[in-house]
């Protein structure tokens, strides 16, 4: 069993890039990751990658080089990037390979996603009557959470305000202008209680990581960023998920809680040990709820945390230091690896204007998506 290290990272700016396919963006990220650690494509022995809507990752071998390597396509919703990462990590940990690559990329059309009921095992009338939108799930989940735990609209606004402030400092972010709290709270109501600036948009982008065994990482000689945990989990009984036509009256846990617990156990640490975190924030309410689901605070404490700025860069636990999905947009296949990219940069203390001060040693990433999947990583330096 070898420990697994992230030795190279690369990203293609998120947002919208006309005339450049999802695979073009992925190639950019892969080449940047290889250059980051001074390797060439023929050095890579194993690869996992995928997108939700931008094609197969393995098709890129025609442009990267026909080296004959093992390249496995992944399609796992919002956990696509995380699943690619844990595939490579498992192969290296097992000793089968000592150098691998994970890539996630996507390119979505503008506007809300329009999934079809049959793809989700639902009758057509659920979609025909307009009850099958991701935005409705986000809105009703946070609406209930606010009712139960005393979270105010201002707290939702503060999460979004922080995202745009951080995005303004991140080269790879899409939204690069700060937006003040009043403008966020008073922007168009999209799906109550969430306003326009509290939602992310489907977007484009790509991120790639080069992973190595301990021996290989030492040979490469860069900063040693260790992958302490990479887990992906599915939902427990009684969870509330996207496109649910019903919810159990006996309320259960969440896929995030299951994944977080497994990740902490694997890494042998707890939430108090985390120095910087990237969590799923398809909308501002998601970040609020995921703070508790990942164990950073208790339900309801977010009100005080956000008011005191504890999740800002420079706060007790900086969250979504590159602006998260709110500022970067949501290319489904790429978001999970963008988060890992951001934590690697933070742990290397190479994040420039958005660098978490002090000496961050432990980074945490979390994605959540339909139909109840979550992927978590823990990195340490």
């Amino acid at each position: 069993m070898s420990a697994v290290y992230i030795v190279g990272v690369g990203i293609h700016p998120f947002g919208r890039t006309e005339g450049r396919t999802g695979q073009d963006q992925a190639l950019h990220a892969i080449r940047a990751a290889l250059a980051d650690c001074g390797l060439d494509w023929p050095d890579i022995q194993v690869a996992y990658g995928g997108s939700h809507a931008a094609g197969n990752a393995d098709a890129m071998v025609s442009r990267l080089g026909l080296t004959g390597l093992q390249f496995i396509n992944v399609k796992n919703g919002c956990a696509t990037g995380g699943s690619a990462l844990l595939g490579v990590a498992a192969a290296i940990r097992a000793g089968e390979y000592d150098l691998g690559m994970a890539v996630g990329f996507d390119k979505h059309p503008r506007g809300a996603f329009n999934d079809l009921p049959s793809e989700w095992g639902l009758p057509d009338w659920v979609g025909e009557t307009g009850m099958m939108l991701t935005t409705q799930f986000f809105a009703t989940k946070i609406q209930r959470y606010m009712h139960e735990h005393g979270i105010s609209a201002a707290t939702l606004g503060r999460a979004a305000e922080k995202a745009y402030a951080n995005g303004a400092l991140a080269d790879h972010a899409w939204r690069r202008e700060p937006i003040d709290l009043d403008a966020i709270l008073n922007s168009q109501m999209v799906s109550d209680p969430l306003t326009k600036f509290m939602f992310c948009s489907p977007a484009e982008g790509a991120a790639a990581l080069i992973l190595a065994s301990e021996a290989r990482a030492r040979q490469i000689g860069g900063p040693m960023i260790k992958l302490d945990a990479a887990v992906m989990r599915t939902r427990p009984p009684g969870s509330f998920e996207v496109f649910a036509p019903c919810i159990d009256v006996v309320r259960g846990g969440t896929a995030t809680e299951v994944a977080a617990k497994a990740a902490y156990e694997t890494a042998g640490i707890g939430p108090a040990d985390i120095d910087v975190a990237q969590v799923q924030d398809a909308e501002a309410g998601g970040e609020i709820m995921h703070m508790a689901e990942n164990g950073f605070c208790k339900d309801g404490e977010q009100e005080q945390w956000l008011a005191e700025g504890r999740t800002r860069i420079g706060g007790k636990l900086p969250i979504n230091t590159d602006g998260g999905c709110l500022a970067c947009g949501e290319p489904i296949g790429a978001s999970g690896l963008r988060q890992v990219y951001e934590n690697v940069v933070q742990l290397r203390r190479a994040a420039g204007a958005r660098q978490v001060p002090g000496d961050p040693k432990v980074g945490y990433t979390h994605v959540y998506g339909a139909p109840g999947v979550s992927a978590v990583t823990i990195l340490s330096r």
């Binding site: 057509d124 025909e128 409705q136």
Partner: protein, 134 residues
């Protein structure tokens, strides 16, 4: 105008109607709608309570994309809720008869059937919704 439900099997034929859920034979857990196809083998159809409370809600303020959306033009925003039917299940539903500003978790609601959209042959398709019960 002739009317018919947007799909069969969502609610009962009785007056007033009830939604039809599915009760898991092994665990007693209730789901909505009643599953069909292979999944239905585990479930018995069960008529659900007519009255409950708003568990959570939102307002659909922008037109959903067709497909799958097949609502009338021009689009009118509508309220949507998860309604808790006590001891049974929490169901997703449209709301009708509420001011958007007055919506809140915990409000009592009752099942009703509302016109949804007119077909090309002049039939009005109906769907279910919950209205204020107080």
């Amino acid at each position: 105008m002739a009317t018919r439900p947007i799909a069969d099997g969502i609610w009962t034929d009785e007056q007033p109607p009830r939604l039809i859920g599915g009760r898991d034979r092994a665990t007693g857990r209730i789901v909505f709608p009643m599953p069909n196809g292979g999944e239905a083998e585990r479930f018995d159809p069960v008529p659900l309570l007519r009255e409950g409370t708003i568990w959570s809600w939102t307002v659909q303020r922008f037109p959903p994309k067709p497909p799958p959306y097949a609502g009338p033009e021009p689009f009118e925003p509508f309220a949507l809720a998860y309604v808790e039917l006590p001891g049974e299940v929490i169901v997703e539903s449209r709301l009708t008869g509420f001011d958007f500003d007055g919506l809140a978790c915990g409000l009592p609601v009752r099942l009703t059937i509302i016109p949804f959209v007119e077909t090309a042959d002049g039939t009005m398709l109906t769907t279910y919704a919950f209205e204020p019960a107080a």
